[in-house]
Amino acid sequence: YSSMARDGGVSCLRSSETMRVGIGGMESPPLDLDEVHVLAVDDSLVDRIVIERLLRITSCKVTAVDSGWRALEFLGLDNEKASAELDRLKVDLIITDYCMPGMTGYELLKKIKESSSFRQVPVVIMSSENVLTRIDRCLEEGAEDFLLKPVKLADVKRLRSYLTRDVKLSNANKRKLPEDSVPVNTSLPPPPSPFTISPVSSDSSPPLTISPESSDSSPPLSPLEISSSPLSSPIDDEDDDVLTSSPESSSAPEESPARRQKMRSPLD
């Protein structure tokens, strides 16, 4: 698959199954509830390969493209006319890098939310920089979630679990079913040690530390601010989405800091 992904264009893994014809609009649930189709957008080849693998290993079908323009092209949004055609693609999730040349992930998010065909599709933004104003802006524009790079398996599993719930249940309630409460990794995550939680590497640090090279001049949050939401459990971050999202609608922009800062499971 890596040779397909290299060309920088659309890489369709399991190409026979990546495209589906949606009839009647995006509201109807897909026929196979387990086959979630994700459109991944990232200009970095290495990151594209990694995100593809992360998604495939969590049973998603993936289409990976290298720019916002190609994403719009893939979605059929690159021309002006409103799309009323039946050959609409079934896309269950769009995950995009923020910093991309040409069109940023934020601009792509806006275009998706402006489109009638795809505005219901959850959009997740990924960024290597933990900039609160950036995160806020994306959430306000309707992004479902914000992942701090480097993206880990736990992050994608979390996305996957609430995505399937949305697809299966027709309401916006994202209650997590008990059997999915804790992802079971086949290999044990490393215990906290100087080597896994490094004070030097900022982007891979747990949510309580802020990247020192953040380009934004806003002051770093203290750990208290991040975990201040009364709804978040300090023990098991996995339940954050359940607790914080249940009283709100699924696209509420006023996400708690705990939710938007929750980039890692405590198992890291």
Partner: protein, 155 residues
């Protein structure tokens, strides 16, 4: 008396641990290993190989930009550094990533000497990591060829 497999497995374990202890790799490399299985047994090797190609390309871009004597476009260098920082972060190349942080600062402050120094260091560092990971993958191959299993190393 140790079998060949046991010896190789011990070497592999020790070498892996030393790479983490010496700061060459961080937990993101561990994350990549989680994505490897029987269906994708060479996933980590493939990703790091792409990463090293990326290094070569980006370092070339930076060198060319810095070579424009008197007319260095530091934002261009900076954007290549940003990309390198991103991909090194994604594969767990901890030292390379750390150097990129310093490098970015030199770009931001438009320090030519600082940038040249960082460029040299980054070049040395990625090549050093490449050699070490090649040794690690060779050990894996030797274990498999000797009929053993590659041990899971908990850091």
């Amino acid at each position: 008396m140790d079998t060949l497999v046991a010896q190789l497995q011990r070497q592999f374990r020790d070498y892996t641990i030393s790479l983490y202890h010496q700061g060459f790799l961080d937990d993101q490399f561990t994350e990549l290993k989680k994505l490897q299985d029987e269906c994708s047994p060479d996933f980590v090797a493939e990703v790091v190989s792409l990463f090293f190609e990326d290094c070569e390309k980006l370092i070339g871009n930076m060198a060319r930009a810095l070579d424009q004597t008197g007319n260095v476009d530091f934002s261009l260098v900076g954007s290549s550094v940003h990309q390198l920082k991103g991909s090194s972060s994604s594969v767990g190349a901890k030292r390379v990533k750390g150097l990129c942080v310093t490098f970015k600062e030199c770009c931001d402050s438009q320090s030519f000497e600082g940038c040249v120094r960082c460029l040299q260091q980054v070049d040395i560092e990625y090549k050093s990591l490449k050699a070490k990971l090649q040794d690690l993958f060779n050990l894996e191959q030797q274990i498999v060829q000797a009929g053993g299993r590659i041990p899971q190393v908990d850091i």
